[in-house]
């Protein structure tokens, strides 16, 4: 909502300057987004008269002019305009001026060896329309001391106010003035309701086509005909006033309608009566009916859109936009003026469906004064009669004014409890009355108010509290400390902190955290789908973000691809986030990928490409972080199908799958266009068990450990990784088992080196005891196909 300060002053008597007004507006909830101050914009511009103009000695097309301002100061200007002639009054931009059209700062310059101390401006350079070519030509009798802003029609500073959707009443200068006055920023200058004399009966037939339905969508519409108007160019005051509000001047009738809308908040529509054929009906559009709006855009209408139509076609999309067919032009003499009340939702839907935004739509959507059809019609009539002449008919009313009377009661206690402080009761009632509310009954602890027709947003007690606090100023409420109650253990936060701990752990292992969108392209997601059905968006922003991710992998791969494209050779990244599938299941996962070398090339070690045991290490670091007992973890060769079938594994804790790791299947490399080997791990975070348990500490003497190393031969494709867990189970004396060696000893056999540590808490073990355990280990290994290697 844009308007000039001078316009505001028609309704508000105040001593405040524009900046004080702006601060007040922001403080009462009408946030000022921008102040346009013409004295700042045109700071380095002035009016001048050309005193002398000579041909440039070094350039045929240039002139060297001497110009003179109101005080007789002279400047020398080099100018190329043909119309630069002695006696012409024009606008001079001085050095440091910011040229409105380009935003550039003007500097003194030397043009073909002659210093030019400024620039005489063309209309284009000042973002003006109209005169074409050359520099601006002002009227010969203009006073050179007039400000440039005034000459160009800037009557004062302009405020751009952001109006919240509940405040339809503040889409008018009058409404803003009323609010400011209530907040103590001045006196509201109430305008008297006008009644224009009618010279003749309303001659046109206007009716609802279907009164039941139409009544709902357009309950009250007032019309009037004005004959004998002259629709010419608008006077200067009107042009500059509506320019400040962001409207281009079209013609006097259109400009007046726009002026009245911003002034009072009441949209009206003016039809050229001569172009209307026969009776006018208010009806719903017919299926596939075409409407050409005032700007010349054609729309195909739908049957729930309300139009005013003559016998030929729709003339106006009610409340949204007028039609081209009955638009006023310079030949218009007789007009039909409409001032109606249209349903908020219907206007909004029509505007959205047809993608039409208009100042009228904005006001109907937010809610206009329900009692303003007739008074609004009188107001625009007066303006038209005064500026365009003519004579007005009697008013024709279709439908009837809805009963919008309502009362709201405010309790003193409520006011205090919502504010959390003690508020002056009488002062509060006064504030509400300044907004136009009227006290209808009251006692010590409560007061009932009637709500004015323009404040349909006020319907409950809390609304009145807000009005009081807002006008008093939120800043006047003194902050009060809340009681801090200690909370018990918050498991969700504990869990969140643990996940942050895991992220830090992975970062310490060289992986960087990324966060990606929850939606992704379908064909990237479906290869990771497994048996989970993907959730599609009905209205994605683009097909690249068309389905909810059921895996974190595709986005990690796309990111890795980007890293590689930037020239990186090694990538290690992870994400923790939700995946979605089935009937809106949501599951938290942690996924990481590694591509390329574990370390950058260095002089100490040969570089090594990340393999599945690196990512298995990442995965196990997480399990260890959770204190999950290694002995209950087993690795099976049955990862999902997007993994390399024999270089991947599923990690089970007891019977639960808690994660996967491995090399990705070549089909994934192909889909994502990778030539590099990619290894990754996935942790199903919701299935992890968090154990706070520590091993029990035995206080006492420590007895020596015994170490035994064994070497076994196995068939090369035997999986022996899980044997470690089984060996632990063989004897309680076994405290550590590790595989220290594994190599292919021949094409069909591999050699496995196993180290077993024995320890008792209460004695030094004897050689015999160790021998017994050794035999158990050998027997077990033989039972799974191993053969003890002789030294």
């Amino acid at each position: 909502m844009k308007f000039s300060v001078n316009w505001l002053r028609r309704y508000l008597s105040t001593d405040l300057n524009v900046y004080e007004i702006s601060n007040k507006l922001t403080a009462i909830g009408l946030e000022v987004e921008h102040i346009e101050d013409p004295s700042v914009i045109f700071k380095n511009f002035k009016l001048v008269r050309i005193k002398d103009a000579q041909k440039h000695p070094k350039a045929d097309r240039l002139k060297v002019c001497v110009v003179e301002d109101a005080e007789g100061n002279e400047s020398r200007i080099v100018c190329g305009a043909e119309n630069a002639r002695v006696g012409l009054k024009t606008i001079l931009a001085m050095p440091e001026a910011i040229i409105p059209a380009s935003g550039e700062i003007l500097r003194k310059s030397i043009i073909r060896e002659i210093v030019s101390e400024g620039m005489m401006c063309s209309p284009e350079e000042l973002s003006l329309v109209g005169q074409k070519g050359g520099i601006i030509e002002l009227e010969p009798n203009i006073d050179l001391s007039t400000s440039v802003a005034e000459v160009l029609g800037y009557d004062s500073e302009t405020l751009d106010v952001s109006v919240t959707p509940n405040r339809g009443d503040c889409f008018s200068v009058k409404g803003i003035a009323r609010d400011l006055a209530a907040a103590g920023a001045g006196k509201f200058l109430i305008s008297e309701d006008i009644v224009c004399a009618s010279s003749f009966e309303f001659p046109l037939n206007i009716h609802y086509e279907n009164s039941v339905l139409c009544c709902k969508y357009a309950p009250h519409v007032a019309f009037r005909i004005i004959r004998g108007v002259r629709n010419g160019e608008s006077p200067k005051w009107l042009k500059s006033t509506i320019r400040a509000a962001g409207f281009n001047s079209i013609s006097m009738l259109v400009d007046l309608s726009n002026f009245w809308m911003v002034d009072s908040g009441r949209p009206t529509h003016v039809y050229d009566l001569g172009k209307i054929k026969g009776a006018v009906s208010l009806r719903f559009a017919k299926s596939k009916e075409v409407f050409e709006d005032i700007k010349g855009n054609r729309h195909q209408l739908l049957p729930d859109m309300l139009v005013a139509a003559d016998e030929e076609s729709p003339l106006c999309l009610m409340g949204v936009m007028g039609g081209k067919r009955t638009a006023c032009d310079e030949n218009t003499t007789d007009i039909l003026v409409e001032s109606g009340l249209f349903d908020q939702i219907s206007v909004s839907k029509t505007g959205t469906m047809l993608n039409i935004s208009s100042e009228s739509r904005v006001r109907f959507e937010r809610g206009i004064d329900k009692n303003s059809c007739v008074s609004g019609l009188e107001g625009i009539t007066e303006l038209i009669l005064k500026n365009c002449g003519g004579e007005a008919s009697a008013i024709c009313i279709v439908g009837k004014q809805p009963d919008s009377y309502k009362e709201v009661t405010l309790e003193k206690d409520k006011l205090n409890s919502i504010s959390g402080s003690s508020i002056d009761w009488n002062a509060s009632k006064l504030l509400l009355e300044k907004l136009g509310l009227k006290e209808t009954k009251s006692d010590k602890s409560r007061a009932t108010f009637s709500i004015p027709s323009w404040r349909s947003d006020l319907s409950i007690e809390e609304d009145l509290v807000e009005e009081v606090l807002r006008l008093k100023g939120y800043d006047s409420i003194v902050p009060q400390c809340i009681d801090i109650v200690p909370t018990g253990k918050d498991e969700i936060i504990e869990r969140k902190n643990q996940i942050v701990g895991m992220k830090r752990l992975l970062a310490s292992r060289g992986l960087s955290e990324i966060i990606t969108y929850s939606f992704i392209k379908q064909n990237y997601s479906e290869v990771f789908e497994e048996d989970r059905s993907l959730i599609h968006l009905l209205n994605p922003i683009s097909t690249d973000l068309g389905v909810m991710r059921s895996s974190l992998l595709p986005a990690l791969l796309l990111s890795a691809k980007k890293f590689l494209d930037y020239g990186s050779t090694d990538v290690s990244i992870f994400e923790v986030g939700n995946v979605f599938y089935g009937s809106c299941e949501q599951e938290l996962q942690m996924t990481g990928i590694r591509i390329g070398n574990i370390h950058s090339r260095n002089w100490l070690e040969k570089s090594r490409v990340a393999d599945i045991f690196d990512v298995k290490g990442d995965l196990f670091s997480i399990l260890n972080y959770c204190n999950m007992d290694d002995r209950n973890i087993i690795t099976l060769n049955k990862a999902p199908s997007y993994y390399h079938p024999s270089r991947s594994g599923a990690i089970l804790f007891g019977h639960n799958e808690i994660g996967y790791f491995g090399e990705l299947h070549p089909k994934i490399n192909k889909l994502f266009d990778f030539s590099e080997k990619i290894v990754c791990f996935e942790v199903l975070l919701q299935k992890l068990l968090w154990s706070q348990a520590r091993k029990s500490y035995i206080n006492g003497k420590i007895f020596p450990k015994i170490h035994r190393d064994f070497a076994f031969l196995f068939a090369s494709k035997t999986s022996i990784g899980n044997a470690v867990n089984a060996i632990y189970e063989l004897d309680p004396l076994i405290t550590e088992v590790s595989i220290f060696d594994c190599f292919e000893s021949s094409i069909i056999q591999k050699s496995i080196g196993i180290s077993v540590t024995l320890e008792a808490v209460d004695r030094t073990l004897t050689e015999d005891e160790a021998q017994v355990v050794s035999k158990k280990v050998i027997k077990y290994m033989e039972s799974i196909g191993g053969e003890l290697r002789k030294k």
């Binding site: 966060i515 986005a555 100490l604």
Partner: protein
């Protein structure tokens, strides 16, 4: 000079002239070993009477310990010399770079979320969670956004291809506020909860991403009002931005789920290209808040006559950007290596 004195002098001379351990060893042998000088001397004792024996014997012993002492200190000296020689030969170019250690970075949203959780927990807020895929009822209706509310259109909100249920059509939540209703339905007041999570809106340009993160706080208690809201936000922001003083501006605003509603601005200035909060006269919008609308309390089955609610919401990315000077919103979700390197945090920083 006696014989013994001569012997001692000649031994000392020889020991002193020794320049390696091997020679010294041989020398020791030639003095104390079989057929050595001392052994020869001892042989003379046989021909002496007891008194002479005792005298010479003790003289010889004195000589022996003198020579041994000299030998030992020479041994030590040569050992040190040889060790030094050996160590000098073990040269390493210490100016070479160390063994590489590659660490990753933590995403700034993780860091900022952690900071926010710490501060809010300290006021006694507990975490409340809700799903990203919500129903229309909790996302809109229960929050006093009626059927025709413009935010409900396909133009603004992502809907998903799943059948509607009691909670209405399925959509990607447009704010974390549905968690308010979930929390009120799950727990009787008094209640102090907060939530942090991803939210989705159909918007994509330089200042909007279709996904972003919100922080939501809710207090439902008996004696809390706008004055308490002002205190808690002021305290939170001072702690978060780590400033002693912060000017705040509460501007009346409009949200369907609060009445009265406010937007909060904080003061700042720009110095050397950096934003400094708590100083200067410029204002920056940071948060939306208000007193929970009675309709919303009603949907949460809270008796609006007995309890009052305070609610506030922040954008997590905005907090992160302001505190750590991160410019483009899109960077948060578009995983650019340099971005992570620049704005990510070391795992060791808490």
């Amino acid at each position: 000079m006696t014989e013994l004195e001569k012997l001692q002098a000649s031994c000392f001379l020889e020991i002193g002239g020794c320049d390696n351990l091997k020679k010294l060893d041989a020398l020791k042998n030639s003095i104390f070993g079989k057929g050595g000088k001392i052994v020869e001397l001892m042989k003379e004792l046989r021909n002496l009477n007891n008194e002479q024996k005792r005298k010479l014997g003790s003289e010889i012993n004195l000589l022996k310990s003198g020579i041994l002492g000299k030998l030992n200190s020479k041994f030590h000296e040569l050992e040190m010399k040889e060790l030094e020689q050996k160590l000098l030969s073990e040269f390493v170019d210490v100016a070479l770079p160390p063994r590489p250690e590659h660490c990753g970075k933590i995403h700034p949203l993780t860091k900022v979320e952690e900071e926010v959780v710490d501060i809010l927990s300290s006021y006694g807020f507990v975490f409340a969670d809700g799903p990203d895929i919500e129903g229309e009822h909790l996302n809109f209706t229960a929050l006093n956004m009626p059927n025709h509310h413009p935010a409900r259109t396909m133009h603004d909100t992502f809907y998903v291809h799943r059948p509607a249920d009691d909670n209405g059509r399925k959509l990607l939540r447009t704010h974390t506020s549905p968690v308010q209703i979930r929390a009120m339905l799950a727990h009787k007041p008094p209640l102090r909860v907060f939530s942090i999570g991803r939210v989705y809106r159909s918007d994509y340009d330089a200042t909007h991403t279709p996904m972003f993160s919100q922080i939501e706080g809710l207090i439902v208690e008996k004696n809390v009002g706008f004055s308490h809201l002002k205190w808690i936000l002021a305290d939170f922001l001072k702690k978060f931005f780590e400033v002693k003083d912060l000017k705040m501006r509460f501007r009346p605003s409009f949200f369907p789920f609060t009445e009265p509603s406010a937007e909060v601005d904080i003061n700042y200035k720009v110095e050397g290209g950096k934003i400094i909060f708590g100083e200067g006269e410029e204002w920056l919008e940071i948060c939306g808040c208000g007193i929970v609308h009675p309709v919303v309390l009603g949907h949460g089955k809270v008796d609006a006559g007995r309890y009052q609610g305070l609610a506030f919401g922040f954008g997590l990315e905005r907090l992160a950007s302001l505190k750590y000077g991160i410019p483009d919103l899109r960077g948060y979700f578009e995983a650019d290596e340099r971005w992570i390197d620049t704005f990510g945090f070391s795992h060791a920083i808490r």
